[in-house]
């Protein structure tokens, strides 16, 4: 999985002894409630590495350990394939994992525990966006895939692209382009193709694949590269390899802050949520449920999103976020309505062919790309 995470540029500080803590965790967890201490519980939390790890440790993990006394071992990276391998081999080592998709697969019930929303406090439940409250997952944060462009190619005194229709208009806005590959199941490029073909953003679903790929045929000759990793598109834009590209909002914000000649706009951006899931058969199920409800609180979400340029799913979090930062977050009230949410339930659902819509997308994409 790719984590659309922003880098403050500082090196990661890994806790060398974190794993040793896993062995001695029970003895060290002095402040833990008796029952947890007796179990020797060390909650294994899995998500992205690098600077995201640094942010989430500071904002969520450390306060969680202090407040609950539950000892946490942090592991990265999170891979969906590893969840499958662990549950299939009946050796579940991870407890709680942050990813976007597994909760919406047709076989989610085989791999994940149902979320216990009874354990959430009422304030948190009321303020969470509906997109955050899924049967097998709780939302953590939102990133947006927006239209980024080179300000060297399109300076401020000249017209700049403002919609995906204009992204597709190569006579008005000449220059090479990049969009994200769908090979690993990311649907943004197909959604943008439909928007470019004139489909309104609230009528994207269910996806009309034929129309989308016809629209993609028009732009393909102008695509330099279908990118797969966030770092690749950073490089493409900051090197002026392409004039415009779809990219994660946080990445472009970061490039701007570093002085790169790039900018972006929110219109028709695609919002996508990352979710925490609890693995089926997790050794520390109860502690895992406490963790997923803790991270959803307004305070925890605000602390995290003060450090990275992604948006909280708890509306109340904006009470604790500086207005200057809030303006750069995708779920801020002034930004959220310009964009649309990815319909994760649709992509995980079965199509008429018996496959999930993601599989249909991937199959058609590979066929289209290879031909």
């Amino acid at each position: 999985m790719t984590y659309p995470i922003i880098n403050s540029g500082r090196p990661t500080r890994r806790q060398v002894l974190a794993g040793m803590g896993a062995a001695g965790g029970a003895a060290l967890a002095i402040g833990a409630p008796g029952i947890l201490r007796a179990q020797g519980a060390t909650l294994v939390v899995v998500s992205g590495g690098g600077v995201y790890e640094e942010a989430i440790r500071k904002a969520v993990i450390d306060p969680f350990q202090r407040e609950t006394g539950i000892k946490v071992t942090y592991v990265s990276p999170a891979e969906e394939a590893k969840i499958k391998a662990q549950v299939d081999s009946k050796n579940v080592q991870w407890d709680v994992v942050e990813l976007s998709r597994p909760a919406f697969r047709p076989d989610a019930h085989k791999y994940l525990e149902e979320i216990d929303y009874g354990a959430f406090d009422k304030e948190t439940l009321d303020n969470l966006l509906p997109e955050a409250k899924a049967k097998y997952a709780v939302g953590s944060y939102v990133f947006s895939t927006v239209m980024g462009f080179s300000t060297a190619e399109y300076p401020a005194d000249k017209p700049r692209p403002r919609s995906w229709a204009e992204f597709w208009d190569t006579s008005k806005f000449p220059g090479p382009r990049s969009l994200r590959a769908c090979a690993n199941g990311d649907p943004t490029t197909v959604e943008f193709a439909l928007l470019a073909a004139g489909v309104p953003k609230d009528k994207l679903y269910p996806i009309d694949f034929d129309k989308a790929f016809m629209s993609l045929d028009r732009i393909k000759p102008h695509i330099t590269k279908f990118w797969t990793d966030g770092a690749a598109v950073n490089q493409l834009l900051s090197d002026r390899q392409v004039a415009m590209a779809s990219a994660f909002n946080g990445n472009i914000e970061y490039l701007k802050a570093q002085g790169a000649a790039v900018d972006y706009q929110w219109d028709e951006g695609e919002l996508s949520a990352l979710h925490w899931v609890v693995l089926k058969g997790a050794k520390n199920r109860d502690a895992a449920m406490r963790f997923v409800s803790y991270q959803a609180t307004a305070q925890a979400q605000a602390r995290l999103n003060n450090l990275i340029f992604y948006g909280p799913l708890n509306r109340a979090a904006f009470k604790y976020i500086e207005p200057k930062i809030a303006a750069k977050l995708p779920t801020a009230p002034e930004n959220i309505d310009k964009q649309f949410f990815r319909n994760l339930a649709y992509w995980g659902a079965q199509s008429s062919s018996g496959k999930s819509n993601i599989e249909v997308l991937v199959e058609r994409w590979i066929k289209w790309v290879a031909s």
Binding site: Y3, I5, G9, M20, S89, G230, N234, D239, R240, E359
Partner: protein
């Protein structure tokens, strides 16, 4: 009952008869059997047994014409890469073995250096070089050779460049280790009998080096088949190869039965290719037992390549006939002859190749001192901040230590296991050779993403994930075949009569191996150990699966950051590794030369 008893008896008889090769082969068989074949069989069986016995996955995979297109492209790409590597690598290897010691050492260093800059960093260095406003385009535009930047990247050209670049060191090192085993007395003898330099090369030297060409070609080909990070990063909008497709099934759609099907198909087609090329090229010769290098050379030339020799003779006769009628200026003929023998022309080509191998390093080192946060070239200013970031970070330093420890352990394990197996294959019976060789090469042919998932399944059950042992085992599976290939090719060139002589003088088998065989293949052992170390040091995919928070290796550490954002810290790490390589290399070279002097 009786038949099974009989089978058992004949099997034990066979084992008793082939006691030495069986013993030598046992560790490799055990390692690969438990940690490669069993997990692989488990995973591949998904293609037939998920959920029940079924052919549905094969119907789905083979019934889709797109997959045939992708399969054809994958093989076409691997073939192109192999041919380019051999065509460019052969002259360089020839130059290295025929050059003076210090020239050879410098050339080899240039070849090896590129190895130590991480796989990922090298790929990004090509982006800086080949980009629309990259170094090469800027140079071309400054020279007025082109007005608009050329499309050098995100197409097949950049994929070929990067893959050839990554696989060239393997080609050159395998070729040189075999060429070193060719007694130069033979070419001298041919010359004294009146062979022209051209004839000498094509009739004597080249056929003797053929095992190396085949070994290097096979190695590069199977490696190239498994590539997916490079095509994914540097390919264009249409670039797609089967390992990328398998990655999609494993990580994207989690359709493991289909991934298993695709892997089985790739494996089957690879084996078909391998057997066909075996039939035509007679690559068995690579591991056939020889009655001594000199004698085998004549028999090789006489029997298996007689048509080839006739062709060379015919070409020589033609050139002579033409040469007698058309009078070349004397100087031109001489120059042409010299060029054909690896003279100026080939050296020029080799120098360009060396420049090609070194150019990403010339980019990476300045970038590591850059004041910019991006991979800008030339750097806008100088600073040491990226080195500071490296040394200040526990994560980077402990990952480096972890990589060194795992790399050295892997090199030792696979060197011991692999050399023993190579000896068994070269000196064993023909049947053992055939079967053993194909089984030992299997880990190279299977796309690494498949072995990684299979192994992860096993290690998860054995509670070995997040241990250094898991990494050493995983890396050894890939390193053992490398060691076998290199050591076998070198053993091949050794004179077995030395062993017979030792035995007739009363040396036991173990003493013979220890004092005669091993010292005579020492250069190959050093190269093989180096390879095994490097293969482990630069391994990304397996490590991502089997390492945990306590056992992060350097590539895993780089990978976790590089997918989000690239800073010149990775260039600093690479530059340090380059410096480290030069030191180690100088140390090994000095030791070797001291040893040789003492030997004399």
């Amino acid at each position: 009952m009786a038949t099974s008893l009989h089978a058992l008896r004949s099997a034990t008889a066979w084992l008793a008869h082939n006691r030495e090769p069986s013993l030598l082969l046992a560790p490799a068989a055990l390692l690969l059997g438990v940690f490669f074949f069993i997990p692989l069989a488990g995973l591949l069986s998904l293609s037939l047994l998920d959920p029940g016995p079924t052919f549905a996955h094969y119907q789905e995979f083979l019934g889709n014409p797109t997959n045939w297109i992708i399969l054809a492209r994958t093989f076409a790409l691997a073939t192109k890469v192999t041919l380019i590597c051999l065509l460019l690598g052969y002259p360089l290897a020839f130059w290295i073995v025929s050059a003076r010691t210090w020239v050879a050492a410098a050339l080899l260093l240039a070849v090896i250096l590129s190895f130590f800059t991480s796989y990922l960093v090298r790929t990004y260095a090509w982006m800086v070089l080949l980009g629309r406003f990259g170094v090469i385009n800027q140079l071309l535009m400054a020279l007025g050779l082109t007005e608009r930047p050329l499309d050098l990247i995100y197409n097949q050209f950049s994929v070929l460049v990067a893959m050839v670049y990554i696989l060239m060191p393997y080609t050159v090192l395998v070729l040189t280790s075999v060429m070193r085993g060719i007694p130069f007395g033979l070419t001298r003898a041919a010359a004294s009998l009146g062979a022209s330099p051209v004839q000498n090369f094509w009739r004597v030297f080249f056929p003797l080096s053929a095992p190396g060409v085949i070994a290097a070609g096979l190695l590069v080909f199977v490696f190239a088949l498994g590539f997916y990070i490079t095509p994914a990063l540097l390919g264009g909008p249409n670039t797609i190869v089967l390992p990328m497709q398998i990655d999609t099934y494993v990580n994207g759609t989690l359709n493991w039965p289909l991934a298993a099907t695709a892997a089985t198909v790739l494996l089957a087609v690879t084996l078909v290719f391998y057997s066909v090329s075996n039939y035509f090229v007679d690559s068995e010769r690579l591991l056939s037992s020889q009655q001594g290098a000199a004698q085998s050379a004549t028999s090789t030339v006489r029997h298996s390549t007689s048509a080839y020799v006739r062709l060379i003779d015919l070409a020589t006769a033609l050139v002579r006939a033409v040469g007698n009628h058309i009078r070349f200026p004397a100087r031109l003929t001489r120059n042409w002859e010299r060029a054909a023998l690896g003279g100026k022309l080939l050296r020029g080509m080799s120098l360009i190749l060396i420049a090609f191998l070194v150019s990403p390093i010339l980019i990476i080192v300045p970038i590591s001192f850059s004041s910019s946060r991006f991979l800008d070239f030339p750097p806008p200013g100088l600073s040491l901040q990226w080195y500071e970031a490296y040394f200040r970070s526990d994560a980077w330093v402990s990952a480096t230590v972890q990589s060194l420890v795992v790399g050295i352990a892997t090199a030792l394990v696979s060197l011991a296991v692999g050399s023993a197996a190579a000896m068994a294959l070269v000196r064993g019976s023909p049947r053992m050779r055939r079967v053993g060789y194909q089984l030992l090469l299997a880990p190279l042919i299977v796309p690494v993403i498949i072995s990684a998932v299979a192994l992860y399944f096993l290690f998860a059950r054995l509670q070995l994930v997040n241990t250094s042992l898991a990494l050493v085992i995983a890396h050894s599976i890939g390193a053992v075949p490398l060691v076998v290939l290199i050591v076998a090719a070198s053993l091949q060139a050794q004179n077995i009569r030395l062993e017979h002589a030792a035995a007739s003088l009363g040396a036991s088998r173990i003493v013979t191996i220890w004092r005669i065989v091993l010292p005579s293949i020492r250069p190959a052992l050093i190269v093989a150990g180096f390879f095994a170390f490097l293969a482990s040091f630069d391994e990304v995919v397996l490590s991502l699966f089997v390492s945990g928070p306590n056992t992060k290796t350097l590539p895993v550490q780089m990978w976790s950051g590089i997918r989000e954002e690239i800073t010149p810290t990775i260039a600093a790490v690479s530059s340090l590794l380059i410096a480290f390589t030069i030191l180690i290399y100088a140390g090994v070279e000095t030791m070797r030369q001291l040893g040789e002097r003492r030997g004399k």
